[in-house]
C-alpha cells in the first residue's frame, strides 16, 4: 500500500509537470517530422516513387535540336524527364542550374554529351535516368544493322522474374522504397522507441535530486518505507510512463503504415532497457547534490549511450562487429522487421542481464549513499 501511495504521488508529479508533457509533445513532433523527412527524401531519391508521385515534372532537361526525332529523345521521354528544347547548346547550358538541371546533346562523333548540375537535389536520380536512356540509345545505335530481337537479347542478357512468397503475411508500408525502409526501420524506429527512456532517466534524477534540493528527501527516508520501496516507488511510474510513450509511438507508426513485428518481444526488451536507464538515473541521483550536477552527469551518460546504441547501426565496427548482435538497437531493428525470432532471444540475454545489473548496482549505491547522507 505504501509503495502504491508513493508510486501514485510520483505518477501525479510526472503527469502534472508541464515540462514532461511538453517533452512528450516534442517527441510527437520528432516522430512526425522524421516520417515526413524520410518520405520526402525517399521520393527525391527513388526514380519509381518520383514517377509515381508526379515529381518528374521537376526533372527538367535541356536538349538541343539534334536530339529531336532520335531514339535518345524517345528514351529520355520514356524516363519521364521533362524536355526543354533550346536552339543551340550555348542557350541550353546558359539555362542549366536555373531553368533546367541538365543538358543533353549529341557530340560531333555521335557520343552523348551530358552537362549536369551537381548542386541539384535531384542530381542522383537525374543522372541515373539520363545514363539509362543514353546507354540504351548507344547500344541501339551500335547494333542498328541487327534484327530487333537480337538487339533486345544483347541489351537484356538477364531475365529476372520475381515470385513473391508469404503475400498473405505482407503488411502495408507507407513507401515501398529501400531508402524509406532503411532510414525508418534502420534508425528512426529504434531512435523514436528509445527516446522516452532517455527522458525517463532524466525524470528519475529530477525526482530524487529535486527532493534533495527541496530538503524533503530526508523526510522521505524517515518515512516507514524501506530504501527498496522508495526506489520502486520512484521508478515504477517512470518505467510505465516511458513504456506507455513507446507504445503510443508504435501505434502512431502503425497508423503511418510503418508496422512493427514482434511488439511483445520489443516491449520486453524495452522494459529491461527502461530498468537500465532508470538505474542510471538512480545512480547519478545518489552521487550528486544538485539538479545542475545531475543534468551535466546525465547529459554525458546519455551522450555515451547514444554513441553505443546508434553508431553500430551506421558503421562497420571492425573488431567489435561480432558484438553488434547484442546491441539493443540492433536487436530492435531485427525484431521489428522479421517474423521469425529464432536466435534473437539469445542475443537479447546480454542486454537484459546488463540492464538488471545496472539497476541492482544502482539500488545498492542508492541505499548506501542515501543512508550516509542522513
Amino acid at each position: 500500500m505504501k509503495l502504491v501511495a508513493l508510486a501514485k504521488k510520483e505518477a501525479y508529479d510526472i503527469l502534472t509537470n508541464r515540462v514532461y508533457i511538453l517533452l512528450v509533445i516534442v517527441q510527437v513532433i520528432i516522430l512526425l517530422g522524421s516520417f515526413a523527412l524520410a518520405s520526402v527524401s525517399s521520393i527525391a531519391l527513388d526514380p519509381e516513387l518520383m514517377d509515381k508521385w508526379g515529381g518528374s515534372q521537376f526533372l527538367k532537361v535541356g536538349v538541343t535540336p539534334d536530339i529531336q526525332g532520335t531514339v535518345l529523345e524517345k528514351n529520355l521521354k520514356e524516363e519521364n524527364l521533362k524536355l526543354v528544347y533550346y536552339n543551340d547548346l550555348q542557350s541550353a547550358n546558359k539555362a542549366l542550374g536555373s531553368e533546367t538541371s541538365a543538358t543533353v546533346y549529341l557530340k560531333e562523333d555521335g557520343d552523348v554529351g551530358v552537362n549536369i548540375d551537381a548542386g541539384s537535389i535531384f542530381y542522383t536520380i537525374l543522372s541515373e535516368k539520363i545514363r539509362r536512356a543514353s546507354r540504351s540509345y548507344n547500344i541501339e545505335r551500335s547494333l542498328a544493322d541487327l534484327p530487333d530481337d537480337e538487339i533486345k537479347r544483347i541489351k537484356n542478357p538477364i531475365n529476372l522474374s520475381i515470385v513473391e512468397m508469404n503475400t498473405e503475411k505482407r503488411l502495408k508500408i507507407a513507401f515501398e522504397s529501400p531508402y524509406f525502409i532503411g532510414i525508418m526501420y534502420g534508425f528512426m524506429v529504434p531512435f523514436i522507441l528509445f527516446l522516452p527512456f532517455f527522458l525517463g532517466s532524466n525524470i528519475v534524477t529530477d525526482s530524487i535530486v529535486g527532493e534533495k534540493e527541496r530538503k524533503t528527501f530526508e523526510v522521505l527516508l524517515m518515512a516507514p518505507l524501506s530504501p527498496s520501496m522508495i526506489i520502486f516507488g520512484k521508478i515504477i511510474p517512470v518505467v510505465l510512463f516511458s513504456l506507455l510513450q513507446s507504445f503510443a509511438w508504435a501505434v502512431i507508426l502503425f497508423l503511418l503504415h510503418v508496422p512493427l513485428y514482434n511488439l511483445s518481444l520489443i516491449f520486453l526488451l524495452l522494459f529491461f532497457m527502461a530498468l537500465g536507464f532508470a538505474g542510471v538515473g538512480i545512480f547519478i541521483s545518489s552521487v550528486v547534490d544538485s539538479t545542475k550536477e545531475a543534468n551535466s552527469a546525465i547529459t554525458i551518460v546519455l551522450f555515451i549511450a547514444t554513441f553505443i546504441l546508434f553508431v553500430p547501426l551506421f558503421m562497420d565496427l571492425g573488431f567489435f562487429q561480432p558484438f553488434m548482435d547484442f546491441i539493443p538497437t540492433v536487436i530492435l531493428v531485427k525484431l521489428s522487421t522479421q517474423q521469425s525470432v529464432m536466435g534473437f532471444l539469445v542475443d537479447m540475454l546480454p542486454s537484459l542481464s546488463f540492464s538488471i545489473l545496472v539497476f541492482a548496482l544502482s539500488a545498492v549505491s542508492f541505499k548506501r549513499e542515501g543512508l550516509i547522507r542522513l
Binding site: 534502420g186 534508425f187 531485427k334
Partner: protein
C-alpha cells in the same frame, strides 16, 4: 562602463575557475574533434568516388540465399546492403532466394521474395540493381566480342555537388556558429544562478546600476565565446578544412554573439529558476537557429539571401560580398542587439521581476506598448 568591466572580470575569473565549466569546455572540444573526424571521412569517400550514404547499414538485417554457381549476379550484390548466403537449394528455405540459371543467353534468374518482412524491398531493389550492373557488363563483353564500338556517355558536372556544398559551406558555417549556442547556459547560470542562490538581492544592493550588472555579465559571456570561437576555428583548420577570410569570419561571429547573448539575458532575467530558463532558452534557440539556418538553406538552393550565416558561407566560398550585404547583415545584428538588451535592462530594472509577483508576458507587453 568601469563598473560593468569589474563585473565582467569577476564573471570571467569565476567561470574559468569552475571545474564544471572546464569539463564542458573540454567535452565540447572532444565532440568537435569527433565531428571533424566524421566530416573528413565523408570527404575522403567523396574524393575516392565512393558512394556517400547516410543510411544505416542494413547488411545484417536484409538476408538473401543465392544459388548462383558462376556468380553472375551474386558478385554484383553489395554486401553492405544485403547479406548473401550461398546455397545450392533450388527452392526457398524460409527466406528470400535468388536462383540463377546460366545455360546460355539470356540467363534466367528467379527471385523468390519473402514478402513477410519490410526488408524484402531492400532485397528486391539490390537484386534488381545487381542484375542491371551484371547486364551492363555482359552487354559490353558481347559488343566487344562482336567488335562493335560502344559509344561513350560524356557526363560533365557543373558546380559543386550538393553533399560537398553542404559539408564545405553549410556544415562548417554551422559548426562555427555552434559555440554561440553552447554557452547560453553561462548567462543563465550567471543571472538565474544569482536568483536561485539568493545572492541577487546582495548584488543589486551594491553601488552599481542594474543595467551595468546585466551588461557586465553579458560582456563576460561574449568574451568567453570569443575565446571558444578562436579554439574552434583552430581545430577546424587543423582538421584540414580551409577557412578563407578567417579574421572577417571571426568578426562576424563575435558580432552575432552579441544579440544571441542579449536574447539569452532577456530569457534569464524573466525566468524564476533554472527549469524555466532551460525551457525558455530551448524554444528561443530553436527559433534563432531557424532564423539563421532557413535563409542559409534558401541561399544554398537559390543562391540569394541575407544573414550572418549566409555572409559566413559566402566568405568560406571566397565569393564576392557586396557592401549592401554587409550593411544589411550588420544593421540587423545591431538593431536586434539594441532590442534584446533594451528589453533585458528594462525588465531587470523592474522590482516585480526581481522580487515578484512576476507579471505575465502579456501584461508586460501591454505595459511596454
Amino acid at each position: 562602463m568601469v563598473m560593468s568591466w569589474t563585473i565582467t572580470k569577476w564573471e570571467i575569473k569565476s567561470t574559468f575557475r569552475s571545474r564544471k565549466f572546464l569539463f564542458i569546455f573540454i567535452f565540447q572540444i572532444v565532440t568537435l574533434f569527433l565531428v571533424m573526424l566524421i566530416f573528413n571521412g565523408v570527404l575522403q569517400m567523396m574524393n575516392t568516388g565512393e558512394e556517400v550514404t547516410l543510411l544505416p547499414s542494413l547488411g545484417e538485417f536484409a538476408v538473401l540465399d543465392v544459388n548462383d554457381p558462376q556468380g553472375i549476379i551474386r558478385d554484383e550484390i553489395n554486401p553492405d546492403v544485403v547479406s548473401v548466403h550461398t546455397t545450392d537449394a533450388r527452392s526457398p528455405m524460409g527466406r528470400s532466394l535468388l536462383l540463377v540459371e546460366s545455360d546460355g543467353l539470356p540467363f534466367n534468374a528467379m527471385l523468390f521474395l519473402d514478402s513477410s518482412t519490410p526488408m524484402s524491398n531492400i532485397v528486391k531493389d539490390e537484386v534488381e540493381s545487381a542484375v542491371d550492373r551484371s547486364s551492363q557488363k555482359i552487354t559490353s563483353q558481347i559488343m566487344a566480342s562482336m567488335e562493335r564500338k560502344e559509344a561513350n556517355i560524356r557526363e560533365e558536372t557543373v558546380g559543386e555537388s550538393l553533399p560537398l556544398k553542404l559539408i564545405n559551406k553549410v556544415m562548417v558555417a554551422i559548426l562555427l556558429v555552434l559555440p554561440l549556442f553552447l554557452f547560453g547556459n553561462l548567462i543563465i547560470d550567471s543571472i538565474v544562478g544569482e536568483k536561485e542562490r539568493k545572492t541577487g538581492e546582495s548584488l543589486i544592493a551594491m553601488p552599481i546600476s542594474r543595467s551595468h550588472i546585466i551588461l557586465g555579465k553579458s560582456m563576460a559571456v561574449i568574451v568567453i565565446m570569443a575565446i571558444q570561437l578562436i579554439i574552434w576555428m583552430i581545430i577546424i583548420m587543423a582538421s584540414g578544412f580551409r577557412i578563407p577570410n578567417a579574421p572577417l569570419i571571426y568578426l562576424i561571429l563575435v558580432l552575432t554573439a552579441v544579440p544571441v547573448v542579449g536574447l539569452t539575458s532577456l530569457v534569464a532575467v524573466y525566468s524564476k529558476n533554472y527549469k524555466e530558463a532551460g525551457i525558455g532558452i530551448t524554444f528561443v534557440y530553436i527559433i534563432v537557429i531557424g532564423f539563421l539556418i532557413v535563409p542559409a538553406l534558401v541561399y544554398v538552393s537559390q543562391g540569394r539571401g541575407v544573414g550572418p550565416l549566409i555572409l559566413i558561407m559566402k566568405l568560406l566560398g571566397s565569393e564576392n560580398i557586396t557592401i549592401s550585404n554587409m550593411l544589411l547583415t550588420f544593421s540587423g545584428l545591431v538593431v536586434s542587439s539594441i532590442i534584446f538588451y533594451g528589453l533585458a535592462l528594462w525588465l531587470f530594472e523592474r522590482d516585480d521581476i526581481l522580487f515578484g509577483p512576476r507579471p505575465g508576458v502579456l501584461k508586460l507587453l501591454r505595459g511596454l506598448l
